[in-house]
């Protein structure tokens, strides 16, 4: 187990993302993360939250997002938890960037920024848990 840098829980709504981004950025900078790296990580986490809002919950459901950041040596581990229905993670794919069109960029950006991403088994009662890891040192 590493050092907990941030634990957030907020409603899965677009207007909640800005304060979440700012909280994440502050936590990252306070941990010694370089500004440029922090900026990329904020983007990736924001995109992951957007995916939860748009696709996991969708327009018909409400629920929360939980975001935790843990420092483990040279890596930061991010866990994004929702209480939406389980998704089929085999269907989560970045799109082909040669196909220039609006939309579909979020997963690609997450994978560009993070070193590893995977869905892990959620605790009882939770929907999905996306784990993302980024080396910062």
């Amino acid at each position: 187990m590493g050092e907990s840098l941030l634990e957030l829980r907020f409603p899965a709504r677009a207007e909640e993302l800005k304060p979440a981004r700012h909280a994440v950025k502050e936590a990252l900078l306070a941990s010694g993360c370089a500004n440029a790296v922090a900026r990329d990580i904020v983007l990736a986490l924001d995109e992951a939250c957007q995916n939860v809002i748009r696709y996991a919950y969708g327009p018909e459901r409400e629920g929360d997002i939980s975001l935790t950041i843990e420092s483990r040596g040279e890596e930061l581990v991010f866990l994004l938890t929702d209480w939406a229905p389980r998704i089929d993670d085999s269907k989560v794919r970045p799109r082909d960037l040669d196909d220039v069109r609006p939309g579909g960029l979020g997963t690609f950006l997450i994978r560009e920024v993070m070193d590893r991403t995977d869905f892990i088994d959620p605790p009882p009662g939770c929907g999905n848990v996306l784990r993302m890891v980024r080396r910062i040192r």
């Binding site: 207007e15 981004r21 990329d40």
Partner: protein, 106 residues
């Protein structure tokens, strides 16, 4: 996010400031598509954009594609570090026409 649209030297200049994110990108999209629909030249000033995400980028892409289909000149100007980084990550920095300054674009 705040925005303004003005006419300058025969172009519509759409200027965005603040954070173009999931909450505000629908408004940005509407502004951009409206500009493309009523001008032969649109410049998008991003100098004041502190944050942009994939939904904001999607608004730019959609406006760019509509402009291309309609023969409207469309370019980004004064792209500061934050949006530039996202465009680079998304490999779109080579897709859009980007001018360093508004004057270069006019």
């Amino acid at each position: 996010m705040e925005h303004s649209v003005r006419e300058e030297a025969g172009a519509l200049v759409a200027c965005f400031t603040g954070e173009v994110d999931l909450e505000h990108s629908p408004a940005a999209r509407k502004v951009l598509l409206d500009c493309v629909g009523r001008s032969s030249k649109v410049l998008v000033d991003l100098s004041g954009v502190e944050y942009i995400d994939s939904s904001g980028v999607a608004s730019l892409v959609e406006a760019f594609q509509k402009a291309k289909k309609s023969g409207v000149e469309f370019a980004l100007v004064s792209v500061n570090d934050a949006p530039r980084r996202v465009l680079e990550l998304a490999r779109l920095d080579k897709v859009f026409t980007i001018h360093d300054t508004l004057a270069d674009g006019l």
